[in-house]
């Protein structure tokens, strides 16, 4: 009896001690991240049948259990993955957001300054200091574009570096998970007792993985965590792990492609398959937003430079020579691994879209995809112009193989490569190439307008003085170049007269030939002459400078001014940044809620542990007392024998 009581006391004492140890373990790990509090499970020993009934045999420790909810754990991982995605996206985007609007680095004030310089030159076309001022502000604007492009390239590089780091982290976690799967398997093999702290460690690793990438975790029958990425490729299977890697994209070496490494080849994931986690956020930022921003700025730079160059060519510089290109502009980038040569040249700068393109040959036909919105165009024959870019296979041989694809970036380098071609202020074309005069001897009251030229003029410039004479008898004007048809537009109705034919006179009608437009208005007398001559010594002529200044408010980019196009970009980025901020806030809030729920189940409450300590301390003391009583009982029995 007393022996039994001893045994009973020992079992109670041992169980209370386990309780004290577990409470102590909980207290020790109160601040360990992802630690799940542990509880002892105790149960009565199998009772002894003594004829008079079952007599209890004390207590034993069933197991030490961690407080863990697998469902909450999975929810926590999902929330963590989404929050990391938004956070990574938002962090990178915030850098562009402030870059675009910054008065010191933004392009907008530089564009305003540049056009202000053009206006000043228009006010004093002969003034060398006004021209110098324009040249300086053009250089400042170009370098502002360059600097912004440079910042964006740096951001792309750092994004790629972070992608590579994230890939490394995923691989490291994969390896550790495989090891833990094995350790847990070994530890659990001795019996059915759970290795709680190892399980916690594995869950912490799984959470760490969720922070990097959105992975699917499947608990195998063996209890191992099998991890799958993307559309179902395994990262961890039992105690084996696989490697993903980040390699330069052959079609665009500045980008890293992430994929599963099998031997020497890389099976790349699509960006959307890797959504979630820091890696997903970085990839999405790089592919959805960064490229678009680079293209948009490139497009503004290209369109502005090209419009200025085109107008510059319609004028005369300080030396009386036709204007030349003022800005250096970039050409489209084409990259492919095909043997064929695809050329892309810009035909219409104002029709450019802020996007990259992929041209794919399927063996029979070509499909051009605008990557920004997925619009597809079939190309049957070359050359073909789409969105202002002319594509051609030149030379036509070798022909592309089936499934060859070409990546075309028409505007990517626009901002990075824009530059001012000249340091000579004299090369700014402020004057118009022609001037007109009403003959001194005219007796009629008709006047000729100053005249203007359009893009057709440089191909057929005015060779020498031209005298247009009015003949009253037939009411016609003669004297136009014999080889040029002349068109007359009055009130929107246009008539073209064959080369050499007399042109009926209509007051105020626009007379055009070889890219020259002018009006004669009023009542001419018979024999009245009007001359159109090549402009010379026109240091005071600012007509082309006025046309250059008008580019600022002209609808140059799909109906928008340069500043509006830049404003649209700013607003797009701002909206996206705001959207990501809101998403980050919402997802962080969700994460906090799930975390609170998880902590509510698994977290350590020190007050609770203090209570447990007291509880088990008292149980321990009571068991001790019980053994004291057993001793007394034993003494009584011994006393009987004395």
């Amino acid at each position: 009896m007393a022996t039994n009581l001893f045994g009973l006391g020992v079992s109670a004492m041992a169980t209370a001690q386990a309780g004290l140890l577990t409470a102590g373990h909980n207290i020790a790990n109160a601040n360990t991240p992802n630690y799940s509090r542990q509880r002892i499970e105790q149960a009565p020993n199998t009772p002894l049948f003594s004829g008079g009934g079952f007599v209890g045999q004390g207590v034993h420790l069933e197991t030490v259990q961690r407080a863990y909810d697998a469902l909450l754990g999975a929810e926590f991982r999902t929330a963590q993955s989404q929050a990391s995605h938004s956070q990574a996206y938002s962090d990178q985007l915030a850098r562009i957001d402030s870059l675009l609007s910054d008065p010191a680095s933004g392009v907008s004030p530089a564009i305003d300054d540049f056009f202000s310089g053009v206006h000043d030159m228009a006010s004093s076309p002969g003034d060398a200091s006004a021209r110098q001022n324009l040249l300086s502000s053009a250089q400042a604007m170009a370098s502002r574009f360059n600097e912004m492009a440079n910042q964006l390239t740096t951001l792309r590089r750092s994004t790629n570096e972070r992608i590579a780091a994230s890939v490394g982290e995923v691989n490291s976690i994969g390896t550790q998970l495989a090891q833990l799967n094995r350790q847990i398997d070994v530890a659990g093999r001795g019996g059915s007792q759970p290795p709680n702290d190892l399980l916690d460690k594995r869950d912490a690793l799984a959470l760490g993985l969720a922070r990097q990438v959105n992975a699917t975790i499947v608990v195998a029958d063996s209890g191992a965590y099998d991890v799958f990425l993307g559309s179902g490729q395994a990262l961890v299977l039992g105690d084996k792990s696989f490697t993903i890697s980040a390699r330069p994209d052959p079609l665009g070496p500045e980008n890293l492609r992430v994929g599963l490494q099998t031997g020497a080849s890389l099976v790349a994931y699509r960006s959307k398959d890797l959504a979630g986690g820091t890696l997903g956020g970085l990839l999405a930022f790089r592919d959805e937003t960064l490229g678009g921003v680079q293209d948009s700025i490139g497009r503004v730079a290209l369109a502005l430079g090209a419009a200025f160059n085109a107008q510059q060519k319609l004028g005369l510089d300080r030396n009386g020579a036709p204007g030349a290109d003022f800005f250096a502009l970039s050409a489209p980038q084409v990259s492919s691994q095909s043997a064929a040569t695809l050329t892309a040249t810009i035909a219409d700068y104002s029709a450019l879209a802020a996007s990259d393109y992929r041209l794919k040959f399927d063996g029979t036909g070509y499909t051009l995809t605008r990557l920004a919105d997925g619009t597809q165009t079939s190309i049957v024959s070359f050359p073909q112009t789409v969105d202002g870019v002319t594509y051609d296979l030149n030379p036509p041989l070798p022909a592309p193989a089936a499934n060859d694809s070409f990546l075309i970036r028409p505007v990517r380098d626009g901002a990075a490569r824009i530059g001012v071609l000249t340091g000579d202020t004299g090369l700014l074309a402020a004057a118009a190439p022609i001037r007109t005069a009403t003959s001194f001897a005219n007796t009629g009251g008709a006047r000729i307008s100053a005249g203007s030229v359009d893009s057709a003029y440089p191909a057929t410039p005015l060779g020498g003085a031209l005298s247009i004479t009015y003949s009253a008898a037939t009411n016609v004007l003669t004297g136009f170049p014999p080889a040029s048809p002349v068109s007359v537009t009055l009130n929107g109705a246009s008539t073209t007269y064959a080369a050499g034919a007399p042109v009926p006179y209509a007051s105020g009608a626009t007379i055009a030939w070889n890219g020259i437009q002018l009006q004669v208005s009023g009542l001419p007398a018979d024999g009245d002459a009007f001359s159109v001559v090549p402009n010379t010594n026109a240091s005071g002529d600012n007509r082309n400078a006025l046309a250059l200044a008008a580019l600022q408010t002209g609808a140059a980019l799909g109906g928008a001014t340069f500043q509006q196009a830049y404003g649209q970009l700013t607003s797009q980025v701002g909206n996206k940044a705001r959207e990501m901020q809101v998403a980050t806030g919402a997802q962080t809030g969700l994460l906090t809620q799930v975390q609170a729920a998880r902590e509510s189940v698994s977290g350590v409450n020190l007050d609770e542990e203090a209570a447990d300590l007291l509880r088990y301390q008292q149980a321990y003391q009571a068991a001790g007392k019980m053994m004291g009583i057993a001793g007394t009982l034993f003494d009584t029995i011994l006393g009987l024998g004395r």
């Binding site: 109160a30 601040n31 509090r37 915030a94 957001d97 402030s98 609007s101 907008s108 206006h119 000043d120 006010s123 004093s124 076309p125 002969g126 003034d127 004057a431 001037r435 005069a437 009403t438 001194f440 001897a441 007796t443 100053a450 010594n537 026109a538 240091s539 005071g540 002529d541 600012n542 006025l546 008008a550 600022q552 408010t553 001014t561 500043q563 509006q564 830049y566 404003g567 649209q568 700013t570 607003s571 980025v573 701002g574 909206n575 940044a577 705001r578 901020q581 906090t592 975390q595 902590e599 509510s600 189940v601 977290g603 350590v604 409450n605 020190l606 007050d607 609770e608 203090a610 007291l614």
Partner: protein, 402 residues
């Protein structure tokens, strides 16, 4: 709900961190005075601010352009005022030269005075704008507009005039070419000229005449040829080009009107036999040609090469041409003055616009200080509350009693 101890600490700390960052944001807004610091703060306002900024820059630019226009127009206008005075001066001199009591020597000295005044006028026509070039040579600022050659004073510039963009929809011409100022006027009375042949010997002199019948004008040149036969003076009107007589043997009456083909002029004095007056449609004539002709007539009269009748006719015709030229200068000057006045009203419009855009910009991106300070105070209070409650709650532990 169970609350874990570490969660109590971390969630409390998180809340305090969040409030700190809100407070910092408000503080940055207050110190910069800007509500929108990065586009994501208000994407629409940020984009609008960029275009408004451009409009503001343009309004300022138009203001500067107006100043340039004002300067250029003002200089041209004041120069033309001097030109007008000079022409008026010359007119007074020409009228005094017609005084019959003047001696040949007097006319000679008047001729010298006139030559001097022509030089002064030429100087005005060749006025330079300090920073730029010549005022009145059209586009060719670097080329002197009027130069003396053996063929007289010729205009070497062109008919261009420089324009300045002074408002969004207004491009204003700020210069006038020498051709329009000094060569825009017609000679004579503006419609036809009357000239006495240099070899006329009689005292008959013609006035400048006038158009009597617009519809009857033919645009052809005529000669009025006088015949004196037996003390009776008659005249024929001959169509110069055709050689046919329009009028034959009409009786001459001193001071009476001679009219044909819609034109009429009066001849007074006594024309000699064979004296000829030619009548031609008026063409544009440079003011310098008019003045040179006047000076030449004075000089010829002084040297007796030109008889009184022919001299007086030349003088009358010259004065008529001079009046036409003065009118032309005045009309150009009026145009410049009207543009100067327009600039004044455009200037106040530009100032209004500038103010409007500044207000717009301020509305889009500037901070409402009252609201910001009030939220700063609110955030401060809530941060204090979070900090104090954090301290209170974390101080509670059962271990304190063990």
């Amino acid at each position: 709900m169970r609350v874990s101890t570490s969660w109590m600490y971390s969630s409390g700390a998180q809340a305090i961190t969040r409030k700190h960052s809100e407070l910092l944001q408000t503080q940055q807004q207050l110190s910069s005075g800007k509500r929108v610091m990065v586009p994501s703060d208000d994407p629409i306002a940020a984009a609008n601010a960029l275009t408004t900024q451009q409009s503001l820059a343009l309004a300022q630019q138009y203001g500067q352009n107006q100043d340039v226009a004002k300067g250029t127009l003002g200089l041209a206008e004041s120069t033309l005022a001097q030109v007008g005075e000079a022409l008026q001066d010359i007119r007074v001199l020409a009228i005094s030269a017609g005084n019959g009591s003047l001696s040949a020597g007097d006319r000679g000295s008047l001729a010298i005075e006139l030559r001097g005044k022509i030089d002064a006028l030429l100087g005005l026509a060749n006025t330079r704008d300090g920073a730029r070039g010549y005022l009145f040579s059209g586009y060719q600022e670097g080329i002197q507009p009027f130069a003396r050659t053996t063929a007289g004073t010729v205009y070497q510039g062109d008919q261009g005039s420089r324009a300045v963009q002074v408002a969004a929809q207004r491009t204003m011409e700020v210069s006038a070419s020498g051709a329009s100022i000094f060569e825009g006027a017609h000679a004579g009375n503006g419609r036809f000229t009357v000239a006495a042949a240099a070899l006329n010997t009689g005292s008959g002199m013609a006035d400048a005449g006038a158009v009597t019948d617009q519809a009857a004008l033919t645009g052809r040149a005529y000669q009025v040829v006088f015949r004196v036969l037996g003390g009776v003076t008659t005249y024929d009107v001959v169509d110069t080009a055709a050689g046919t007589n329009v009028t034959t043997g009409a009786a001459y009456k001193a001071g009476g009107a001679i009219g044909f083909a819609g034109m009429q002029f009066a001849v007074s004095g006594a024309p000699a036999n064979g004296d000829v007056f030619s009548v031609a449609p008026s063409t544009r004539q440079s003011v310098f040609k008019t003045l040179d002709d006047l000076a030449t007539a004075l000089e010829s009269s002084a040297s007796r090469a030109l008889k009184d009748g022919a001299f007086q006719t030349a003088l009358t015709a010259g004065i008529a041409s001079l009046d036409q030229a003065s009118d032309q200068v005045l009309s150009v000057r009026t145009g410049l003055g009207a543009r100067l006045r327009e600039l004044d009203s455009l200037g106040s419009q530009a100032a209004d616009q500038k103010l409007h855009y500044q207000e717009e910009l301020s509305r889009l991106t500037d901070l409402d200080y009252a609201a910001a300070i009030s939220s700063l105070t609110q955030q401060q209070t809530s941060l204090q509350a979070a900090q104090q409650s954090y301290l209170r709650i974390t101080g509670l532990s059962l271990f304190n009693y063990l």
